[in-house]
Symmetry: C2
Subunit: 414 residues, 2 copies
């Protein structure tokens, strides 16, 4: 089963926005066993739309268009679809009523322009938009499907999930698909690949492996395709156990949306332990990641962004002589910061960063990209020196990822 | 002058990554006066590449392909380009030497597989890749150009900037293009549009306006196209002055990469003033934004992430009775936090947040989405109550944007 995605509108072609709609649609189609053959971004222009549609239908069973369904005159998708299917627009009273209700809710005046959104090609099945005014459209002929969706991401996503994906599953006989995500942390894609090479080569042919690297972690996604749900489930289970035996040290979770900060939160809650964070060069980035998780207040007591040396001395009890002797960017100062906040906030663990994120060497002589990360545990404090290169945002991001990795390892030990 | 961008590879089609390469190329082409007619993402498959190339060349003067140039057998772009141009691959010694040097630098063994990267269609002009191993290729015939670039974003961007854009400008007679960005803050796109409607409608026909909304701000980009640089420059100047007269209250800068945190930094440096930040519900997000700017240590003294009530009391001198009487999520506590950190860190300004980012109401009864933001100035402290809805990450992001907007206004006054 092949699909093509067509996005209509100039915003992508002038480089104004990233085409995140296509990414969402492609991900969701792949999950239910539909491959995406091509993604095409085109202008809001009748000739161009007609041509792209014809091209797409010559190869794909399913064509999904997004964009070009707004109330203004620029949006000509609907008229073009009517022309393509040799059809005419008719007013759909149900849709008009729905739009009126939507406008009334937010006290917007309903105008003739808005009424036009209820005009739809007569041959389409309207897809009700419960979160916006532009309805989606489903066309079906000769066992081929064309779907048109609004371009507003939230509306498109809602229509995809509630209408389009179920309708595709009803219309086409699709294989059963099972996904399992394994989240690894702290190793690059190529090293992970090397460690699991034998296992990967011996996967049954109905199970595919994808590497999804991002932000210091690599997600491994197993996709099994077949007709028996039971066989797929069992096979995936067997393969995950085998994998755990090979890389247990870097696996941190199995949820699709799991991140290292989620994993840290679960561990701390389970162990009823707490954490505090003292950040210099990372400037709040570690605190932000930890507090992004709902319920972080159960284990995260607080943090100090000790940017100025005076804050390190006064708030974290770092001995000024350490700074004078070793400079603020040193393992001695990182460890003193971690100990300082651990004692002050009375937490099980603390983590501290000090470094030079660049672009200039500032008041210390430290090379740009050098970061010291210290971890304080109930028993000890230790630190490591890292060199995270440049530019500034990468240094901060890498230091944050490494700090989270270090603290997670420490929590696991205790 | 029309271009088409073709990205080759499965990562985009399975929804694994966003097509950020196309966004970059489209932006850069538009800047030099080349319109992008279509962006097409296709599989790493010979037949598909040939077909997409033919289609693209039938409409576009310039076709830029990215991806499919790695050393492994999956990457068949080069062979396909040779076939398309009825050409053969020959070994380019200069390129091979360059790759050897790149490998030696990082102590990687140079293998036969890597040598293959030096094989190029004989008719192309190789584009030297100074930051990677895969060279770019420039094909020119019948006044039409096909360019092939590696898919690694950093390598693609370097080749675009150093080789492709200058070569396009040499090869084609392009109009003169002038861009001017005006950054506005604190108002939504539709409200900005309403305020400047008359001005926009009266723009000369060679000046186009684009709205680029993101993260609480709207960038207005004026693009003038013509043959006289002088006329364009003068006209843009005139229009910007007119615009300033209409929306001076929301314009915060004119640099393409300017953000509100950059603007705050420039103001504080100029006035030789300082700031400290106390964050509860925003959890480090404001500190992170402020410290993302190089040189922030000149004006940002430090911050406290006061997640637990004990930190608010002990570190920020918030009176426990205020918390008991009004709850931690209150204007009284927000103001006490701001005053507390301003006094402790001895800064000109302080900003504080306390609220409930959700998803649950936690230990207070406050509605999810409620946030109090307080600003302390040399003369006073005040706060405002906001309702930022949900989900959690949006509450945090909106509160952060609003806090930055409030503090910037305050700095401007003093």
């Amino acid at each position: 089963m092949q699909a093509e995605i067509i996005t209509i509108g100039d915003e992508i072609l002038i480089g104004q926005i990233l085409d995140s709609n296509s990414k969402f649609i492609a991900t969701e189609l792949n999950k239910i066993g539909v491959s995406v053959y091509q993604i095409t971004s085109i202008q809001d222009d009748k000739k161009h739309i007609l041509e792209a549609l014809k091209n797409a239908q010559s190869k794909a069973d399913i064509v999904i268009l997004t964009g070009g369904l707004g109330p203004t005159k620029d949006d000509i998708t609907k008229l073009t679809l009517a022309e393509y299917f040799n059809d005419t627009l008719i007013l759909n009273d149900e849709i008009v009523e729905h739009i009126k209700t939507m406008f009334a809710k937010v006290n917007y005046p309903f105008t003739e322009v808005n009424k036009n959104q209820g005009l739809l090609p007569s041959s389409c099945t309207p897809l009700f938009n419960t979160v916006g005014t532009a309805p989606g459209m489903w066309f079906e002929n000769n066992k081929k499907v064309v779907v048109s969706l609004p371009g507003v991401p939230f509306e498109m996503k809602t229509l995809m999930s509630l209408s389009v994906l179920p309708k595709i599953q009803q219309t086409f006989k699709l294989p059963y698909i099972l996904h399992k995500t394994i989240l690894t942390y702290g190793m690059g894609e190529s090293i992970v690949a090397e460690r699991i090479e034998d296992w990967e080569n011996n996967l049954p042919n109905f199970i595919k492996l994808a590497y999804l690297p991002s932000f210091g972690n690599v997600r491994l996604r197993l996709t099994a395709k077949g007709i028996s749900k039971e066989i797929l489930e069992n096979s995936i289970k067997v393969e995950v156990v085998k994998l755990q035996n090979i890389i247990s040290d870097i696996i941190i979770g199995f949820e699709e949306n799991e991140t290292i900060e989620v994993s840290i939160g679960l561990l701390l809650k389970e162990k009823q332990q707490t954490i505090a964070i003292a950040e210099s060069c990372t400037g709040g980035s570690i605190c932000k990641r930890i507090t992004a998780i709902p319920g972080a207040s159960n284990y995260f007591i607080g943090g100090v962004i000790a940017y100025n040396a005076s804050v390190k001395i006064n708030e974290l009890s770092v001995d000024k002589r350490l700074i004078d002797e070793f400079s603020v960017v040193s393992c001695q100062v990182a460890e003193a910061m971690a100990k300082g906040i651990q004692q002050k906030y009375q937490t099980t663990y603390a983590i501290a960063t000090t470094g030079n994120a660049g672009p200039t060497t500032d008041d210390t002589d430290t090379t740009v990209g050098t970061v010291f990360i210290a971890v304080a545990t109930p028993a000890a404090v230790y630190s490591e020196e890292f060199f995270f290169g440049k530019p500034r945002e990468k240094v901060i991001e890498r230091a944050t990822n490494k700090a989270l990795e270090m603290i997670r390892k420490e929590i696991l030990k205790n």
